[in-house]
Amino acid sequence: MKILKSLPFVLLLWSCMTLASFETYEFSTTQNEMRYFKLSKELRCPTCQNQNISDSDAPLAADLRRELHRMIEAGYKDEGIIDFMVSRYGDFVHYKPRIAPETYILWFGPFVLLLGGLSVVFFVSRNRRLRARKAQEAVRETVDVAPSVEAADLSGGLSEQERERLERLLQQDK
């Protein structure tokens, strides 16, 4: 009975074991091993589209892992390995695309858009500021001009103190 009860648990453990059935490689140095893990995460499996070769159990990914292990142990540098893969499978195989004329838009596009957006914001705010200043000047002109032009009317309507107060109030809003 006890065995039967623990059976699901044992089965569960067993399923984890089969999942982790990827081949294991021996490395001469820990540094090589670290490089292997780093590069196998950067390289994309061409058949499975959106997995790197360390995640994928496709036969091609296994081939690429074997090749990666061989090249690392043979003393190839990281760039050499990436070049090797890109010359066979194209830029697609590397998750971090190289900087070349055909990838400029990919690398610099976002910055260009950001600059564009910032310049739009700058011009819009500058326009708004200029327009506000123009409006103020127009108001001041009417205030300056009004007494002389319609002096007769105004002098009749507003006293000296009142006019001063009006001036102050208009100035406040600036």
């Binding site: 061409p46 589209q49 194209g90």
Partner: protein, 179 residues
């Protein structure tokens, strides 16, 4: 001037829509080959017909031909075999075979059973040549010109429609040479 700027977001929107709309009809599983216009990678591998004879990239020079990557474990290869028979046996177009990560015994039995459209077949049991060629899924069909330069790659089944396309390209490539 101001009126002109008012349309920029609209123009940007249209441009983006065209771009994304095009994306709807693209097949992301079809990758361009990195080896187009490059020479066929060098190799030394046994022939399927005479296991003692070693073949090399020189075997694939001389005429404009197709190179078909196939295996007995690949279901689509079986689907396209009839079309290959038509191309190779009826139309007499040279097709080189690359038996990819397969058991040569099974491969020979398969060709006996379903007829053999290939003029030469190289055995790549380890998949090393496939790797050098950037093969990512059988079947793949390449056009190789008379100088052994890879000119085109098709990934997936060769149907009648695909064959008509390939045929057109092969004729253009052959005509290029004569000119």
């Amino acid at each position: 001037m101001r009126k002109f700027w008012i349309f920029t977001p609209f123009v940007a929107f249209i441009a983006m829509s065209v771009f994304l709309f095009k994306g709807l009809f693209m097949d992301p599983s079809k990758l361009p080959s990195a080896l187009i216009d490059r020479p066929f990678p060098s190799f030394t591998l046994p022939s399927l017909y005479e296991p003692d004879r070693l073949m090399s990239e020189l075997d694939f020079k001389g005429e404009v031909a197709l190179l078909n990557v196939w295996a007995t474990w690949c279901p689509t290869c079986k689907d396209e075999h009839e079309q290959l028979n038509k191309i190779g046996l009826e139309e007499g177009i040279p097709i080189y075979g690359l038996n990819y990560k397969d058991d040569p015994q099974l491969a020979r039995a398969w060709l006996e059973r379903y007829k053999d459209p290939y003029t030469k077949v190289v055995v790549d049991q380890e998949g090393r040549l496939g790797l050098d060629l950037g093969v990512y899924g059988a079947p793949e069909t390449y056009i190789i010109d008379q100088h052994g330069i890879i000119r085109y790659r098709h990934v997936g089944e060769v149907t009648e429609q695909v064959w008509q396309e390939l045929k057109g390209l092969m004729e253009i490539i052959a005509a290029e040479e004569e000119a």
